[in-house]
Every structure is written in structure tokens, then in C-alpha cells.
């Protein structure tokens, strides 16, 4: 994963609470063989409605989602995070996240930041006063800012550290790169290798 410290992207107000994972991505999209390419599946049921926020011109290139309370409830599908990420979102803010969704987000490099209900309302107001405005997310000091408005967000310390360092589970293992390489150097030469292929 890439290291995340601070970035600015188009802010999108999703003025709904209880956005469950079936709304984020319907089950019909789970049969695919990829971990990417789910951008068309994001909020699929709502995308057909021309009034839906992502169908509004200023928000089409959204990267920072400001959502109502209880975001990501329902099934454990990691596809919900993949769909948000594939669409282009790098961060989601809500006053409350479902635990599994928040865990999945952390694994995939999507910031799931907890803000207060009051700050949610304030950010929505700031966006609607200036549609298409960018929000600056700062993971170092844990703030999200639009213009002069800056609000703090919460994220668990371990996830924050991993995102700042750009470490996924594989990345963490690769911190032991030297130990792995040293182990490999000591493996006996007679241990089998699949390449070059024999017996073909």
C-alpha cells in the first residue's frame, strides 16, 4: 500500500444514515473473479437515480465521502471496500461505522474516520455552500478540513500507524525481508523447484 499522510480530494455529502453493505454493493456483484473493477457496482441501486449525489456533476470525481451515521453495516463482504476504493474514494467519514467494515477498510488502505454528528452536519453545509470543493485529509494530525473549517477525526492507532507507513499485512511481513532473504540463502540446494519444469 502507498503511504498516506495528507491528501486533498473532492468531498461528497452522502446525507443518509444506515448505509449498509448491500446498498454499497449488491450481492449480485460478488460472483466476480477480481478484487478490482467494482467501481460500477458502488451504490448500484442508487446510481440509476439521476438525483443521486454521485450523478451530480461536481461530485462525480469524489474522493472523500462524508456519510451519515452507521455506515457499512450488514454483511462482512470486503467487496464494499473494494467498490469504494475502485470508484476513487480514499476516505470515508461517519459518526459511526460497523466494526467489520472498518476493519476491512483498514486492510485495503481506505481511511474510515470517525467524526461527530455536529461536525458531519458542518462539513455537509460547507460542501453544499461550494459544490465540488476539496476536503483535505491529514492523517498525521487526524483532521479533515474544508476551507477554514477543520474537524478532528478518530482512527485506531494501529491502523493509523499502518496507513502512515503504507503497510498492509503483506507489507508487515516484508519488514522481515532481510530475515526471509537470509533464510532463503540457507535452504539446501536439493529442495525442489518448480522451475525449470521437469517431467513435461
Amino acid at each position: 500500500m502507498e503511504k498516506i499522510t495528507t491528501f486533498t480530494g473532492v468531498a461528497v455529502p452522502l446525507k443518509r444514515s444506515n448505509v449498509d453493505t448491500d446498498q454499497i454493493i449488491p450481492a449480485v456483484y460478488l460472483k466476480r473473479i477480481t478484487k478490482t473493477g467494482f467501481d460500477d457496482a458502488l451504490f448500484a441501486a442508487w446510481r440509476g437515480d439521476s438525483d443521486f449525489v454521485l450523478n451530480q456533476e461536481p461530485y462525480k470525481t469524489g474522493e472523500v465521502l462524508i456519510a451519515g451515521a452507521d455506515f457499512g453495516t450488514g454483511s462482512s463482504r470486503e467487496h464494499a471496500v473494494w467498490a469504494l476504493r475502485d470508484y476513487g474514494f480514499k476516505a470515508v467519514f461517519s459518526s459511526k461505522f460497523a466494526d467489520i467494515f472498518r476493519g476491512n477498510a483498514g486492510k485495503q488502505g481506505l481511511i474510515a474516520g470517525v467524526i461527530t454528528d455536529e461536525d458531519t452536519e458542518a462539513l455537509w453545509a460547507a460542501i453544499e455552500a461550494n459544490p465540488g470543493v476539496g476536503a483535505t485529509v491529514n492523517l498525521l494530525d487526524q483532521t479533515v478540513s474544508i476551507g477554514s473549517l477543520s474537524v478532528p477525526f478518530q482512527i485506531d492507532e494501529y491502523t493509523r500507524w499502518r496507513l502512515l507507513e503504507g503497510l498492509d499485512d503483506i507489507g508487515l511481513t516484508l519488514q522481515n525481508e532481510q530475515a526471509i532473504t537470509e533464510f532463503e540463502a540457507k535452504r539446501p540446494s536439493w529442495k525442489p523447484k518448480t522451475l525449470p519444469a521437469k517431467g513435461v
Binding site: I33, T34, N176, A179, P188, W190, P192, T194, L195, V200
Partner: protein
């Protein structure tokens, strides 16, 4: 200097330790061989692509196609779109990442757990993983082999290591001599019936004792294969002369002085005298009969000479309810003799019993008999090589003359991801590993059996052992008891 006596599993674990976990964090183990198939790999490859990572050790990775592959018309495009998509994705990924692949039509294609040993890639003292729970098969060589999930598949591809929490060890001691007609499959079905489908949870099983030592590698693979059905992540058998004889001369086996070096190391692997297991289970091989399942999990099995059990006889309420539900699903009545159960389809194949020895055993039973007219029999070799070998020995002709269908290699009816499925309410005698509800097709009913029981069943139309055939296959009958010592 005295060192603590260790078990086989502990030795293999210690020899692959890259980083010892501290404060309860997992150990990081090196993986010697990563087997890949089409179902559990696409998202893993995609994860690598997304992170811009290569497959770290393509020379320790090999892919084949098995779960989705058709067993008929393999020269034609795969009809099922989902199956075709998964297989095409594997081919594309293998090409992009430089992974060796044996595709449908290739002589080395087949069930991943048949292909690895056949090529000599599975050797004693290795760590072997695959995104498939039956990876435990490879433990027959004295390797630590286990199934992993898709995220772990990606992890191994990227790092050639896996963070793993320590396990407990269980010795399964099988002493004595199997009677004619009783096989490795009957041993493992008896083990699972004894310890239950959750009995092995958290353990690595080591199968020991004179009955195990006298088994062929194929038989040992059958036993280790179903360790997962007892809840264990891995099962192992210590390497010995039988192991070495199987390996010697295989394409990827060590040669010359490297062979001697390897054997010297392999000889250090068997569990030390005095090593302590966390649990021990004893099975008396002398008294085993052919085993068969009556229910919907592999632990619901009895001797073929017994009757369908009565749920009321179970003291445990959960087991009683499970038995009631199983009998309802299986459409069986308590007290019915197992041998009177009529089946529709006999399936000979799978990573459990799709090897050459299994086909030979079944062919020897049916030779000189004709198939029961109500039975459909599918013979699906575990790999293309097994199929070729069987044809070279004339086994295919024996099966065809008998009236069985001689198919191409793959997982086939074991799990019905390809078109080989049972219909609703259809009953099979199957040499595979799982008798779950709907496993072999929606509404299907499965009885797990050994290859020789499958063969005898195909002759008689009801669950049968070779000794039931006229003229009788040599089998001395005995009273059905599981060793209690």
C-alpha cells in the same frame, strides 16, 4: 548435551522458522511449495497486481486446473461461463506472473493434490500450502501441508512465508494388520467417526503404527487427505523407505549426491523416542471392517456390516439432532442394514481416491462382473497422468467393458463445480471426502466409501463389500468393532 525429544511436526515447523513470534504474535514460516488452482487464486493475483508486487518465488509455485474442468469434451470450449472465466483468468495470471501452469489437455494437468506428488515436488520435511483444504494430502510424505484462504494465497505469493500460530500435536496410532478388502479409506473414516469432525481442531495429526507403516504412499495420502474432515489443518506420516521408493526417479526428486543428502536429512525427521504428543488416539487395525457414512458429515459413519444408527441412542442432544436431520436429508430409517441401501451413482475419483492404486483396486473387484443396470458409474482419474497410466495397464477397458464411464481428470463429482453432478434426491457411493448436504449437486445424497466398496456397490446396486460378490473377492468377514484400546 541433551535435547528435548521432538515430534515430526515440531521438527518441520522449527526448520522453517524465519521469525519467531513474540508476545503472542504468530511465527513467520517459510513455505517450500505453493500449489495454485483456478478457484481461490484470482483475487490473490489481482491483489498483487494492485500493489505492484511480483510472485516472489515463481520457482516454488505451480498451478493447475482442476475444480471447474469438464471431464468430457475437453477439447471444446468450456460451456459454463463462470467456470470458463475462472480458468481463463488463471491462464492469464500464470502467464503474466511467470507461474508454471498445467492446463486442461496437458499431461500434467489434474487435481492439484495428485499432480504435486506425481511430479516429485512434494517431499519429506517440506512446508506445502494451497488455497484448498485438502492440501493436508501432502502430509503423507512427512511434510507440513495445509489449506489456506485467498488472502493467505496472496501473502504466500508475495512473501513465500505465512504467519502461523503454533498448533498442538495428536498421535493417531493404528496398530495391527488390515484384513483383505479393508483399506486406508476405512482407517480414516473410522478415525473421523471416533474423534468426530471437530476432534482434530487445533491439532496437527501424526498417523503412526504398524498399519500405517505397511500402507503404500497412495494409502497414506488418502488418510492425510481427510485430516481436514476431522477438523485438523494438517496430517502427517513420517517418511520411510516406502516414501523414498515412491519419490526416487520422479521428475523433481533430488538426484545423485543431492539424493543422499536429502535422505540423510529426511532420516532425521521421524518423531523422536520420548517425544510427547498433546493427545493420543488408538485404532485397532485388526478389527476394522469396510467403513461407510450414513449421514451428512464424514464423522457419521459405521461399519458396512452395521445398520443405520438410531438417533435416540445418542446421549448428546446436539449429536441426536444432527443424526435426526441427517437421516431426514438422506431419506434413511434407523435400523436399516447399510448393505440394503440402494444407490444410483458410483463415483470413483477425487484427491482422496483418484490415484492409480485406487483405480487398480476397483478394477480388480469388477473384473469378470457386469454393472448393475440401475447404476451409473463415473471413473474420473485424479490426473491426466493417472489416466494415461491406467490406459497403459488396460484398466480403462475393464471399466468400459463393465459399463462405467471413463472420464478425463479433475475434481469432478466430488464437489460438482463442473457438470458432473447428482440430481435432486439421487444417492451416490462416492470415493470422495465430503458427504455434506448438496455437495455433489442440489439435493444429492452421498455415502463415502473406499474404491473397493464403490466397485462392489456398482456390481450389486446396493452398498456392498467385495466379499459380497459371487464369486467372492477374498475378504474374511469379522465383527464390526472399532478398536477401543
Amino acid at each position: 548435551m541433551t535435547t528435548k525429544p521432538l515430534t515430526l511436526a515440531e521438527k518441520v515447523w522449527n526448520d522453517h522458522l524465519v521469525v519467531k513470534g513474540e508476545n503472542g504474535s504468530p511465527d513467520l514460516l517459510y513455505i517450500d511449495l505453493h500449489l495454485v488452482h483456478e478457484v481461490t487464486s484470482p483475487q490473490a493475483f489481482d491483489g498483487l497486481r494492485l500493489a505492484g508486487r511480483p510472485v516472489r518465488r515463481t520457482d516454488l509455485t505451480i498451478a493447475t486446473e482442476d475444480h471447474n474442468t469438464p471431464t468430457l469434451d475437453i477439447d471444446k470450449p468450456i460451456a459454463d461461463v463462470t467456470s470458463r472465466t475462472q480458468i481463463e483468468a488463471l491462464r492469464k495470471n500464470a502467464a503474466e506472473f511467470g507461474v508454471r501452469i498445467h492446463s486442461l489437455g496437458d499431461a500434467n494437468q489434474g487435481i492439484v493434490h495428485v499432480v504435486g506428488p506425481q511430479l516429485g515436488l512434494t517431499q519429506p520435511g517440506m512446508t506445502v500450502v494451497c488455497g484448498d483444504s485438502h492440501t493436508s494430502t501432502h502430509g503423507a510424505f512427512g511434510s507440513l501441508a495445509m489449506g489456506i484462504g485467498t488472502s493467505e494465497v496472496e501473502h504466500v505469493m508475495a512473501t513465500q512465508t505465512l504467519p502461523l500460530k503454533p498448533f498442538k500435536t495428536m498421535a493417531i496410532n493404528v496398530e495391527g494388520t488390515l484384513r483383505p478388502g479393508v483399506t486406508a479409506k476405512d482407517i480414516i473414516l473410522a478415525v473421523i467417526a471416533k474423534i468426530g469432525t471437530g476432534g482434530g481442531q487445533g491439532y496437527v495429526l501424526e498417523y503412526r503404527g504398524s498399519a500405517i507403516r505397511s500402507l503404500s504412499m497412495e494409502g497414506r495420502m488418502t488418510i492425510c487427505n481427510m485430516s481436514i474432515e476431522a477438523g485438523a489443518r494438517a496430517g502427517m506420516v513420517a517418511p520411510d523407505e516406502t516414501t523414498y521408493a515412491f519419490l526416487k526417479g520422479r521428475p523433481h526428486a533430488p538426484e545423485g549426491s543431492e539424493w543422499d543428502e536429502a535422505v540423510a536429512y529426511w532420516n532425521t525427521l521421524p518423531t523422536d523416542e520420548g517425544a510427547k504428543f498433546d493427545a493420543e488416539v488408538n485404532i485397532d487395525a485388526n478389527t476394522l471392517d469396510p467403513f461407510v457414512t450414513w449421514g451428512t458429515n464424514p464423522g457419521q459413519g459405521v461399519s458396512l456390516l452395521e445398520n443405520v444408527p438410531n438417533p435416540a441412542d445418542y446421549a448428546d442432544a446436539n449429536e441426536r439432532e444432527a443424526a435426526e436431520n441427517a437421516l431426514k436429508y438422506m431419506d434413511l430409517k434407523a435400523g436399516t442394514p447399510m448393505k440394503s441401501i440402494k444407490v444410483d451413482t458410483v463415483f470413483l475419483g477425487s484427491c482422496t481416491n483418484g490415484r492409480i492404486e485406487d483405480l487398480r483396486a476397483a478394477a480388480s473387484v469388477i473384473q469378470g462382473h457386469t454393472k448393475h443396470p440401475d447404476i451409473t458409474m463415473l471413473v474420473v482419474p485424479g490426473s491426466a497422468k493417472v489416466r494415461l497410466q491406467a490406459e497403459a495397464e488396460g484398466l480403462d477397458q475393464i471399466f468400459k467393458d463393465f459399463g462405467a464411464e471413463w472420464r478425463f481428470a479433475g475434481c469432478s463429482m466430488c464437489l460438482g463445480m463442473n457438470p458432473d453432478q447428482l440430481g435432486v434426491g439421487e444417492r451416490s457411493a462416492s470415493t470422495s471426502n465430503r458427504n455434506f448436504e448438496g455437495r455433489q449437486g442440489k439435493g444429492s445424497r452421498t455415502h463415502l466409501v473406499s474404491p473397493v466398496v464403490a466397485a462392489a456397490t456398482a456390481v450389486r446396486g446396493t452398498l456392498s463389500s467385495p466379499s459380497d460378490l459371487e464369486p467372492a473377492f477374498p475378504l474374511t468377514t469379522g465383527i464390526a468393532t472399532l478398536g477401543e484400546n
